[in-house]
Symmetry: C2
Subunit: 145 residues, 2 copies
């Protein structure tokens, strides 16, 4: 939890007119440090040693979601994954790649996703997210050695 992250966290809360409480700051710092989407459980584990209740973690994530500070990544089923929304335009999220071998999920910030063509008439797209599955570079190398 660097000072830089702490400041960014405080700023995000301020901008949205939310109270700067210790649990919220800690949870935002955890998300700022993460390099892939986290589950509620993972956020709970990473917050300074049991200092924040699990119910508070979930309530906070839901709050941040409502304010579009975080959004959901649609990965494995039955488990919600959260990530900060600041890498994405509101209507287009970067693709997530999940490796079938090692199970890890990578955010592909630099990938380019062309628009979907030939949508039925009258449909207005407000958000798009692409989910990729396959074998990551590390695992491919591992299999050939």
């Amino acid at each position: 939890m660097t000072d830089e992250h702490l400041q960014k966290a405080a700023q995000l809360l301020d901008e949205n007119g939310l109270r700067k409480t210790r649990p919220r700051l800690e949870i935002l710092c955890v998300l700022l440090e993460a390099d892939s989407p986290l589950t509620g459980e993972q956020v709970f584990e990473r917050v300074t040693a049991g200092s924040v209740d699990k119910a508070t973690v979930y309530r906070t994530l839901l709050l941040l979601l409502k304010h579009d500070i975080v959004h959901n990544a649609y990965l494995r089923n039955r488990i919600r994954h959260f990530e900060l929304a600041h890498h994405c335009k509101p209507d287009r999220c970067h693709p997530h790649f999940t490796c079938r071998d090692c199970g890890r999920t990578v955010c592909l910030y630099q990938a380019i996703v062309p628009d979907v063509q030939n949508l039925p008439a009258g449909f207005l797209v407000l958000h798009r997210q692409t989910r990729l599955e396959g074998i990551c570079a590390d695992c491919r190398v591992r299999h050939y050695s």
Copy 2:
């Protein structure tokens, strides 16, 4: 549950060397009749009046998933949605569009999804699914009238 669906259901089980039991045939017919991905709960409700146990519904859906007869649609969190895989190529699923207004999900079979560009080196994509969110044609009309 038409005869045509029943036959198709039996065929799908045969092709995969699975026993043709009543619960399996009924569940497959429900999926064949559906025009959008269904949750386990929804499949359970649609199967002839409580004739199949809910545990069996879930076990069967998992079995069909393992044989790639059905696959998951990644929609709302915490709830798994299942649909027959026969509309998709193994590596590319059609996009799903969920309306923020009416909540309904539509399968966009006819949409064209160009490949993701600029993937990091060494990544092998085996499956792709696009999730769209927005306002469907019906709801847009409703709002302007």
